[in-house]
Symmetry: C3
Subunit: 660 residues, 3 copies
């Protein structure tokens, strides 16, 4: 377990570095990330390098026993590079340049960017690849897609398409360009989606987004190759910015050793039960699922964010510590706070760090120091543990993108709808892994595969095999609609999943915000909205019937026995209570322990391994909460003392319980 | 009476064409529209033509007794054309190109577009001008204006202005360019309104919109000339997209045989009394008024629309049939459903047709088939009938445009305000024709001429003559404000209509959303908003006085005897109840039958001719409705049976009654 | 005292000029502004001038005893100039031209604009510099900043920076460009903020805004130099458009003789107590503070505004007169109505003047005529008087701009927050001068210095000296945050004002719209929002403590004795009642007369001088109001009659009382 900070020595007089390092050491900091935006300092003009300051910074930290992660600086091409090689700049969809100054001024397809990134990364890795104070590398920073319409991007896109489709005849057929006379007769007619209209061919748009994601992943792999070559024994990671993005994070991280995430929970906790708290849990579960192993938080909330936009509320007392524990609880092996000092200069002056601008430790710093000390105490217990769950949710960046290109109804949003189901499990205290939809899920007991809008035959086969062998599957509406080229299938819905679900969709009504109701198993009334499939069960039985509108009495939700297992099909978007009731039933069938009375904002998570098992109980709210845990004798790992039930949690209270 | 579908054989394997034709025949379909977006299939590369597939399609349909309307494909220039002749693309008001991909990528002023349109239309008409299965032509598709700032557009605009004004001295004077030093000293200084600012000279902006409308009309006439030359015996039409648009539809259709309209009523019927239902009636009345004869619906709602935007609700059970009958009731002689099959490919995948993607007939298809069968039964009765009314509303695309350039007050919208008055007649069961404001209206008994903002002397004269001869006229506020060049008149309001109205506007208050009240004839209180004229009656009598604000007690509405007739002047925008009360009074004076208790969403229309008279009673709502008709013995044309009163209408219920 | 109108003879046939002049004379008009947009009439083509019409117009007016102010026409470069010298046009931040037609089409940095402005202004001043009917000049029109990214602007910006910083090393250090690798290695890399992103370096953005303000001021000074040279004995002014703008009006007017303002109070008075009314008072106080002397209203509301945007309500009966008196009450020595006639042509047709389009005098003209007559009666009494107050508020266009670049929290807006404090004084009947924050304020008794976000050492010193010597200072939150280069200070807040305030900010919470409460002096509860400093008093005492959230019980507002004076620090944004209660206390300590019961919308102002003292009591509302004045015997200057108390004010009632 590591605790660290992000640090920008280049922003400060070097006179204070030593004092900073000393204070870091005193606060238990063992790792620092450096240099990820420092290209203009490392290479002030083309071909002229200056590593002296970075040597000093690493040494200064090293002398205090602090290890370093270096970020490659490719996210911020310096002015000389942009001026001399303007192809570094992306062009927007009207082919106007994106100007430098705000960190987004680089086209991943630019040959000049590639060449100069190669030079600086080679220099950096050659110099620090064997530095004992340097333990690893972060590539670039928060790569969140590419939307460049430069000559290079257009040319790369054509190559990408040639590789995928071979010739224009195939491309025209697969995309259905005949619609609106869009057939290409020459490759020179094929461009990126210029003009930015959302009306364009959806097959074209989805492939373009795949190309964008691939361009980014390729740029990341290219850096990883250089680092791997020069830096044996040092790890490689990247710090992701949370979904929704165009990027396929599974691809992006395929050459990384582990995933890292930047975690900025919302500080407005006036509505404790609202999305922010749960959003964090999903972000952690998603990040852990990328490499299916523990991860780092490379930037953790340390103060109110705010810059060009208004500042949010300052973190409530206890929040810095509690949310850092949340990261650990859900699988972080390192928590790196962003940042040590609030910047005095530049656009992020008011994105507050652990210290305010005056540099004196205050309340937020003290909370961090407490967390740091607690981690030190629990370090041995945490080593070798990770989060292991019985439930997997299949996440797909391709569904996310396809459903953004064609929103299905008012309010229908892949990520929000996905999050709502994840939330239901969280409120029931049931841990979920969130994994790539195309990966292996055979070891789980329950698999939730929502919104399989684009149909992948292999995934369909795996789901069928999983259920056959005794697993339980939850499927939902808007599945089996399209093939992977974003063309509608001619099978009845839910396409290839029909026999698994045991049901066909006779008709559907995109009800949007026109709320409807249904009744679950004849006795629990719930609301639903966005979309209503009107189901005709074949082998399935109904477990939920609509009670409103012209489809009153028709089936909304089904359960189907399939081989040794079971498949549920939810033909609508339920409200929170509806999901919770349904999932509690499913969990009960599977003998998964579920809490009925977990207060809103209280989260549970278990880390286990090497014979240890730690239950984290987090009160991520501004109010006091108490709960009755279904476990007999409990001991706090933080205090060593026995816990009496009900467990009382102060605002932002954290408890870590030894289960064995 | 024809029933048909829009069909895209080029989107489907030709193996299914035969089966489709067979099913169409079985469903009573007698006409199909083809090919209006198929340029890239008809001319895959420049000068190379392929009509074989279209021959086949027409033959396949013809063998089943189905006639064909061919759409000219000029709305979608293919990629080769755009690549080779980039002047085909419009430039936006910042002179950036509008890129292909979304159907709007053609500048009507482009010489290359003109030349290549000529080639393809000549080829098409030469080939099919005497094909017995082809009964007519649709030019282009939904031409909704031009807003191109290309070299050709600018040059054409200068020519247009030279023709209208002769020289710059006149132009400068008529437009009042002296304001803000906008005088032109050379023609090269005259451009289209670059930059898109709404602050520009309103005379300039209105003439530019007229030029845009003329450019489109000219492009349409140019196609009509070719078709007329090659296709004796086949009709020519165009499918209009509803107002508001820049286009003057009266000009656009001047060389067409009849008008067609694309009709997509909103499927969200949760508020039955709201605008969608009535909007349909106005659309039909407007379309019928363009050529003052029956029309076609070239695209009729067949399923939920939705594409790049979220899908709406699916049509409520019965809606497909009821709204198709609404079209017939208001003068359609053909109803062509859009479309036969939901597209599997392209941007409009979720703009649903009669069949879902799986292609199997379902509820919506059945409703259509029922409508088709009913039309077949009533066909003989419908033949030779049309809608004849005593009331005309004068519609002006020029007022619409002028009032969009200079919105008069918060909430003031020409089309919405016009629609509200039309709605009042509809709720009273009084049929209205909606006709061009400059056309002859001497045969009507009541003429409503709202918002004659731009004053046309001929129209003023005709209104005076009409009233003199015994007609009744309803005038409104914001009349007589400007001359036709969009320059304010120096006469007191309402300008040249003062003696007809018998009133002058002493002062006005653009009250916007600041609601006011008035009292009608001393006993009916109504709300008003947007605009309040404070009237000084000269020869008129007050029929409505304000009761609020500083103008309480002043006159709001007047009635003036003029020759043998009467003129009303409404100096404000009334609420729905106010309009209904006022118009009921007017109708009562004229002995026009008016319903007092027509339920919201129930519409009446009469088709008559050749000694027949059919009363359509439509319940366009999700609820059951009943009404008492003031007619004695009634027989249903649909069932042949006698009707007992009150007439009970099921949700989406349709009744067609034989009146003689 | 002068009363006048803005007049555009060039828009009308010269036949009516004589009649207009006659009617003006009859209405007591003594001054007319002419020609500020007439470049194309004065110089129809390059180098060809036509002054005959302007000679005539001036003569016609002169014969009626009406004096003339000429506006230089540089705000509207004519088409020939733009066509021949396109560098006249500004480029937007994507380097696209701003097209002519809407009055904003000139780049202040353009050499061609400068050269041709010089020619026309020299010609004009040479011709009219000694015309006895011409009393003064208005430069340009409503210069509200420059946001041009033309070559000239970029080049001027580099020169401006070189002059300020000398070299790039200094620039890089002062701006902190090291953040995100933004360091410049060549001057050619320095541009204006292209692309328009709000994310850019805030030091860069603030300097760019200063440069824009300087470019405008320089253009104004350049015109003033020419006028001064040719027009001895004639005054020079400029008509400002109210804040918020980028311009530093103190710089803009430094070569002007006095300030002028264009005053268009909102006509929607449905909420009498709302901002519009008070906004006028602040506008007047700001304008008077620019040169610290009386000013002109160069454009005064005469009818509903409305053009490309919807019209507002017509001025309520009495409003024209009452708001003209408001201008006089707060220091106007001339009220020039905009405009004589409503324009029949051009974009501002519905920006109504004193006459409607028909040109006949009506209600609004009569109100103006009454005002004009009253001014004539009071003229002798008003001569030599001005507004003298004990309280100054320090206004800073630099804080305004810096706080727009980085909004601090939801709802935090410098101008609105400033206005709210000004409003509190107004409601208490306490007159306030609003002066430049860097100017001398030693003669006041109370100085309010809110939101000194950027810290100016000289201002800090002056505030300390002022309090030392016995003055009272009110400081607020968000002071001492930054240095003048927009870089955060490393001192504890409120920076250099700490000892004056006697307090440090321990922590802060940007609460935004999350409303909090506090209690003043233990007995008055008030709301607060936007921002909460948590204060640690050093030498100060608490006068307000929070009662909510985690900072309940902590100090929000302090009072500190400092030398012979006192400093208050308000660590949050109070609600209206909170400010009023606090300021009433402060006023009471200083024995400043404060009204406790002034009805909303009733404003007081005193003009005094030359042994005279006039109290203006204005009821700027649609309702009747009455108030008890704490003065014994009162006489109306308007009627000469004695006033009995309570003073009853009719809607829009105006009373002018002789105090001595």
């Amino acid at each position: 377990m590591k605790v660290g900070v992000d640090y920008y020595p280049e922003h400060w007089d070097c006179e204070i570095w030593e004092e900073d390092a000393q204070r870091m050491q005193a606060a238990g900091i063992t790792v620092v990330r450096l240099a990820e935006f420092a290209w203009s300092r490392l290479e002030p003009i083309e071909g002229k390098f200056d590593f002296a300051w970075l040597d000093d910074a690493i040494d200064t930290l090293g002398r205090r026993g602090i290890q370093v992660v270096i970020g490659t600086p490719s996210a911020t091409p310096p002015n000389w590079l942009v001026e001399k090689y303007p192809d570094v700049l992306p062009l927007d969809n009207k082919r106007q340049p994106v100007y430098p100054g705000v960190r987004l001024h680089r086209c991943y397809n630019s040959p000049s960017l590639r060449r100069h990134t190669e030079i600086i990364v080679k220099k950096l890795t050659a110099r620090y690849g064997h530095n004992p104070n340097v333990i690893g590398w972060q590539t670039d920073n928060e790569m969140i897609g590419n939307d460049s319409h430069s000559d290079a991007a257009i040319s790369d896109f054509r190559l990408w398409l040639k590789k995928k489709y071979g010739d224009l005849t195939t491309l025209n057929r697969e995309w259905g360009t005949v619609v609106w006379s869009g057939e290409y007769s020459e490759w020179t007619q094929v461009n990126t989606p210029l003009g930015g209209s959302p009306y364009q061919n959806p097959s074209f748009l989805l492939d373009y987004q795949r190309f964008c994601s691939d361009s980014v992943a390729d740029f990341n792999r290219f850096q990883a190759r250089i680092i791997r070559e020069n830096c044996a024994g040092q790890f490689i990671t990247h710090n992701l910015w949370g979904y929704p993005v165009v990027n396929d994070y599974y691809d992006l991280f395929d050459k990384m050793d582990f995933a890292s995430v930047d975690y900025y929970p919302g500080t407005d906790l006036s509505n404790d039960s609202k999305s922010w708290i749960y959003h964090g849990a999903l972000t952690h579960d998603l990040t852990r699922g990328i490499k299916r192993r523990n991860f780092w938080v490379m930037e953790q909330l340390s103060g109110t964010p705010g810059c060009w936009h208004p500042m949010s509320r300052t973190p409530y007392p206890g929040m810095i510590r509690a949310y850092a524990w949340q990261s650990v609880a859900r699988g972080a092996d390192a928590v790196v706070q962003f940042r040590w000092r609030s910047a005095r200069i530049g656009a992020e002056q008011f994105w507050h760090g652990l210290h305010d601008h005056h540099g004196k430790p205050g309340r937020r710093f003290d909370e961090f120091a407490r967390f740091s000390e607690e981690v030190r105490q629990l370090s041995a217990m945490l080593d070798g543990t990770t989060v292991v769950n019985d439930v997997a949710m299949l996440f797909s960046h391709e569904q996310l993108n396809a459903l953004q290109i064609q929103p299905q109804s008012d309010g229908f949003d892949y990520l929000r709808n996905f999050k709502q189901i994840h939330h239901a499990f969280l409120r029931l205290g049931i841990g979920t892994d969130v994994i790539n939809w195309t990966s292996d899920f055979s070891t789980y007991r329950l698999v939730v595969a929502p919104f399989l809008f684009l149909e992948n035959d292999e995934v369909v086969d795996k789901l069928r095999a999983f259920a056959s062998a005794g697993g339980t599957v939850i499927l939902t509406t808007r599945s089996g609609v399209k093939n992977m080229t974003n063309v509608c299938l001619s099978t009845e819905l839910p396409g290839g999943l029909r026999d698994l679900a045991g049901v066909v969709v006779e008709e559907y009504d995109p009800v949007g915000n026109d709320g409807q109701t249904l009744v679950l198993r004849g006795n629990f009334e719930a609301g639903c909205s966005q979309w209503c499939d009107i189901l005709a069960p074949i082998t399935a039985e109904s477990v939920g019937d609509y009670t409103t509108d012209f489809f009153a009495g028709r089936t909304a939700i089904t359960r189907n026995s399939f081989g040794k297992g079971v498949a549920y099909y939810i033909g609508t978007i339920l409200d929170d209570e509806g999901y919770r009731a349904l999932i509690k039933d499913v969990a009960s069938d599977l003998d998964l322990a579920a809490f009925d009375n977990l207060p809103p904002g209280v989260e549970l998570s278990v880390r286990s391994g090497s014979g240890k098992q730690l239950l984290f109980v987090l009160n991520l709210t501004k109010g006091k909460n108490e709960l009755q845990l279904p476990v007999a004798a409990l001991r706090s790992a933080l205090t060593g003392e026995a816990i009496t039930q009900p467990l009382v949690l102060e605002p932002m209270g954290v408890e870590v319980l030894l289960l064995q």
